[in-house]
Amino acid sequence: MSWQPEIDELRRREELARRMGGPEKVKRQHDGGKLTVRERIDRLLDKGSFHEVGAIAGKATYDDEGALTDFLPANFVMGRGRIEGRPVVVGGDDFTVRGGAGDAAIGSKQVYAEQMANELRLPLVRLIDGTGGGGSVKSLEIDQRTYVPANQGWDWVTDNLGKVPVVGLGLGSVAGLGSARLVTSHYSLMVREISHMFIAGPPLVARLGQNLTKEELGGSDIHARAGAVDDVVDSEEEAFERTRAFLSYLPSNVFELPPRAACEDDVDRREEWLIEAVPRDRRKVYDMRKVIAAVVDTGSFFEMGRKYGGPVITGLCRLDGWPVAILGSDPRFYGGGWTADAAIKVTRFIDLANTFHLPVVNLSDVPGFLIGKQAEVDGTIRHGARALAALYQARVPWCTVITRRSFGVAGAAHGNHVRLHYRYAWPSADWGSLPIEGGIEAAYRSELAAAEDPKALHAEIEERLNRYRSPFRTAEAFLAEEIIDPRDTRPLLCEFANLAAPLREPGMTGFAMRP
């Protein structure tokens, strides 16, 4: 006698699990414009690569003879698979089973996925579509008791931020613990219209007198602008595409180094227009994203957090095929001055680069912190100081290109000043403690007050000081190491990426990324 009957029984149970919440619930999922968790996994992973773990975990019903009559799978599907040939762990909520709520969960499955990613040192993708693990008050009647809450698996969830790349995809309405799982990741996004995120959803909030739709309370654009998630996309397909792209820049874990890709682009490519990228008129802005696109390997710029912390641009890119973290200033947001949210964005980004050993290129044009009442109200200096701490804690190779302004504390944060100044300045560079335009009133207050014609004196002082403003004078004193032709930026950055590659050190860092 072989064990065939048991294998048949196993296959039958697996088949029942694949029905998820049943045809009616699956139809509802599709009618809502959403894929089922199994469709999502199939589309995310390399074709046919999914190896499920715990498929037959769920709630079974038996007849009097002990034969299985029905089976409702647990509402979390997980396992291993491949993305672009590299192994990953994937786990997703099944909204067709009790809306993904905790009372239909077998909590240990979620924890297992986190632990599996951690111990096998594999990237983790969370497909989030449900209330997570929090459960509902219905559990009171089932358990006939209540419990002290605990965030199940959070030891692994937190530890994973320092060990393996974690991507959180918001693919439905998520609340409570599900929301926390979405944002506790290195890269998170929500799909417009089908995805919402709340601490608590509209029915609970209505009790506060706030009658809001899901979209009004926790729509994807609200969270992308608040920086709660990194990005918003228009479709699930796009979400999977961005997940694959994000992971391609990162190592599978911190004990490895980011993988080099083939480079089709010419490392010596010099874009002619860069010589006039920065307007001579200091009041005029320019498009830093265009500059970034011109200096990195063609098509390799992967921006993250576009809607948040506008003065700072953050993304991943390749230089001669090497993955690099790229920071840039956007002069169109406060001239590139750091707001509180820009500083928070910088901190997270440096932590990400440092955790996964990505060398950093910083295209910097920072007139300082944003000033004014709102900047003080926002606690800008605290968040800015955190960004400084992240910068001085970072150990990855770092190269700065000062494209224009560098003033004050935030301007000085273009690099760690005690490390080798691997930096360049474009001829448009303009730097100091304070810009002349704003600094004269402060520094020459008494002279201006005593002057018969303060306006004329101001102009005279400004003219005098402007003579000292040339970056060549700074370079004479070797306070700026190299002034370069902007068209040489790409060749020089590719040289940096090649020099930096052997300096990258695998292993855990003292400060892993915090969500």
Partner: protein
């Protein structure tokens, strides 16, 4: 006709009005220039069309998300 609200993504003051109500605009063409951190920050039309109304005048202080203009495509 679809109309589009053009809002400011930053706080600043209105330095210059480039287009008035009734003017035609191209996509990405500047309607208003704000001043912030001593820089001129152009606020551009997201679509081609006609400026239906302007919500600011030169010298106004604007906040994040404040309506600048309405453009009809």
């Amino acid at each position: 006709m679809p109309s589009k609200n053009v809002v400011s993504e930053i706080a600043g003051s209105v330095w210059k009005i480039e287009k008035k109500a009734g003017d035609t605009v191209e996509a990405e063409e500047t309607i208003v220039i704000l001043e912030s951190m001593k820089m001129e920050i152009p606020i551009a039309s997201p679509i081609a069309g006609k400026v239906a109304s302007l919500a600011v005048t030169e010298g106004d202080m604007v906040d994040v998300d404040q309506l600048i203009a309405v453009v009809e495509g």
